[in-house]
Amino acid sequence: MKQELKIPKEYSIKKTSKETLEKWYWLMSIGRAIDEKAPNYLKQAIGWSYHAPYAGHDGIQLAVGQVFEKNKDHMFLYYRDMLTALSCGITPYEIILNGISKATDPSSGGRHMSNHFAKPEFNIHSVSSLTGNHTLHAVGVARAIKFYGDKAVAISNQGESSVSEGFVYEAFNGADKEQLPVIFVIQDNGYGISVPKKDQTAQRKVANNFSGFKNLRIIHCNGKDVFDSMNAMTEAKKYAIEESKPVIVQANCVRIHSHSNSDDHLLYRSEAERNYVEDYDPLAKFRRMLLRYERFTEEELTKIEEDVKKELKKIHKEALSAPDPTPESISDYVLPEPYVSSKYPEGLHEGQGDKKKLITALNETLKTEFRENPDTFIWGQDMANKDKGGIFNVSKGMQKEFGPGRVFNAPIAEDFIVGTANGMSRYNEKIRIVIEGAEFADYFWPAMEQYIEASHDYWRSNGKFSPNMTIRLASGGYIGGGLYHSQTIEGSLVSIPGVRIVYPSFADDAAGLLRTAIRSKGVTMFMEPKALYQSPKAATIVPDDFEVPFGKGRIRREGSDMTIITYGNATHLSLDAAEMLEKDGFSVEVLDLRSLIPLDTELIYKSVNKTNKVLIAHEDKLFGGFGGEISAIISEKLFEFLDGPVRRVGSAFTPVGFNPILERAILPDKERIYKIAKELLLY
């Protein structure tokens, strides 16, 4: 194990100024007063139904907040971080607004759970409840700090149980590899709710599990002691910035109370243990020290305590009369406003010239956008190694042109890829990130927890933060790829609000949608039908500046007898089927949705109104696929315009088999679309 370096003792009971000590005592006292009062709000049915008391973490929480410089450093608090929040500059009044979920709560306007403190205006970021989730965000924003050359640090707070999470390992590994100025503060109170440390990991000093990381420094401190914590955090910050390297500070704390108000520690902690931890109440210790070393008199401390009581009474009253969020506000901030195309408002063009393949269109659009915006970044697996640029070479040549600071390989850790994009995006609003979310859509599943986070962020922060990123995924089958190189996963994603999902099927639309995605705020899931990358069928003329707005479908073939609503690979199958049907004397319209979220319901209404018959064709499973939602919308809104049942074609409710015989039997083809369409036309 690496030797722990000595920590300079900058702070001590004798050296620290009286003014500073007074500020600390005030913060610690008002923090504790609110911590103890919070359960009363629940008892009186006012709110604060989630409260994780921090008592016992006082030293480290005060210290973390004291080293934080707002609007310069970046802070990620966890649900037990009330004193850290206060120490960072969130006011006691704002803490109560958060606790009782008021519209003016700076964290979320009452949208997020209580005890989830944030103030994006100060770089105190909105966070998940998922333990350790924001370690990846801290790494991401630290990447930006390093790229832009700031002398600042990202600080992530978490309990010791969080190190059991795989993504926390990914965060530590990434910060170590990239040598990023980030501090992971592990507030160790020995329990994950009721689960003792020994059931989480073999090593009590959990930070030492990571002692093999080359660039990572580990500092242990007494999180119950203000001075030891201040010295540890001061050194950690200095080291992280000066060396541009990550630090873990493991602060030994005690949890004086239960995990939260839904937990009862009497069920699993002995009286002796509870007394033992109470004996080391950090606030009581700090008070004793102030008196013992004659820094304050009993009267002076009592005066501060009285002031705290008065202040708490006052802000309690004010907070109760603060406005509540309104029911009408629920649809605000689901998605930020997208980039608006003035030249191509419908996403249509009459360009001339040579046709380009879909892969070329994507590659050239990426390059054009990266040339125009120096705050663009792209990473993923297989992103950049000599002539290799992306698993299918979509990003070929980009690292050469834009350098390894903006175009780089990521470790094979999908959650890390997505989570650090979210994190980097927190640095400022100008940044736009494109990621290859996984080698194939099939491998995106490990990233789902970060996908969910990204989907929540804009709504959860009450419109204060949106991760501005485009997640590209090579999707779908028809390449003989089997179970793990054929998945198309949009059916599983469309029920998650907060992310746009686009699925082009031609080169021009791919270019136009990608440009819009990169220029827009918010998260866009950009699904690329990989079977079409090189396909001549998907090749089109692509104007250099083409833009396709979100939520604009495109009629790829006009007709009057029936509409096939489709997207992705199935667009081409549908066009082929329409061609076959024309030979039978039927005029079939093919509507390529291009965007699933937002959905162009207007174009659907218009087309169905004209043809009165609808077939929905997609590559994803028929059962539970997005076609079911479209069908339901049509049945609800356009029933009187229909001359037949809404029919659907999709894949079988099985994985995709590897043997081509199996693949053909499972995935939809033009013959199946033709057959169902014909039945409907003859209905």
Binding site: K14, R204, K205, Y293
Partner: protein
């Protein structure tokens, strides 16, 4: 007043019991007992020889009563004074920091010029690491009432015999 003071927390149970064993082994009235919860600079300045009871708390920390005294202790010149340290620890449940507090206190005392006496062999203990360990010896006497209570009396006796020579 004796030459030697034994300082331990009067508010504890296990540490207090062990301290009393140490006192008995010294012959009762040969050492002065002082409550660690109330120790101050004057006490340290007054005596030449000390026995500290320094149990390890949590994952390798000093108990708060010692920790709170350290800022005062750090201002005293300990040259010419002798210190013997003992303390409780738990080899089985806290093997990574067995009796670390003895080691922490030893480092502080040495840093202030004090002389440590009462080193003991690490033989017979089973743990992973300890700040109290220097080579094959501990800088004081670790005791483990949780797992090796039956060895305590003998360990105390042997240690006090040793101290009588080293003081």
């Amino acid at each position: 007043m004796n030459k030697t003071a034994i300082i331990y927390s009067f508010n504890t149970q296990k540490s207090k019991k062990i301290s009393e064993k140490v006192i008995d082994a010294f012959g009762g009235s040969k050492v002065d007992s002082i409550n660690a919860e109330e120790v101050d600079k004057k006490v340290i300045e007054k005596y030449d020889q000390f026995i500290f009871s320094v149990p390890t708390w949590f994952d390798g920390e000093l108990p708060n009563y010692w920790d709170e005294f350290i800022p005062d202790l750090e201002e005293i010149d300990l040259k010419g004074k002798k210190f013997a340290l003992f303390g409780l620890g738990d080899q089985k449940n806290y093997p990574e920091n067995f009796c670390d507090a003895i080691g922490i206190m030893a480092e502080i005392i040495e840093g202030l010029g004090g002389e440590l006496v009462g080193q003991t062999s690490a033989e017979g203990y089973k743990f992973e690491s300890s700040r109290a360990l220097r080579g094959d010896s501990f800088v004081g006497l670790p005791l483990d009432q949780e797992n090796q209570a039956r060895l305590t009396n003998e360990r105390v006796k042997r240690w006090v015999d040793q101290l009588k020579k080293e003081f």
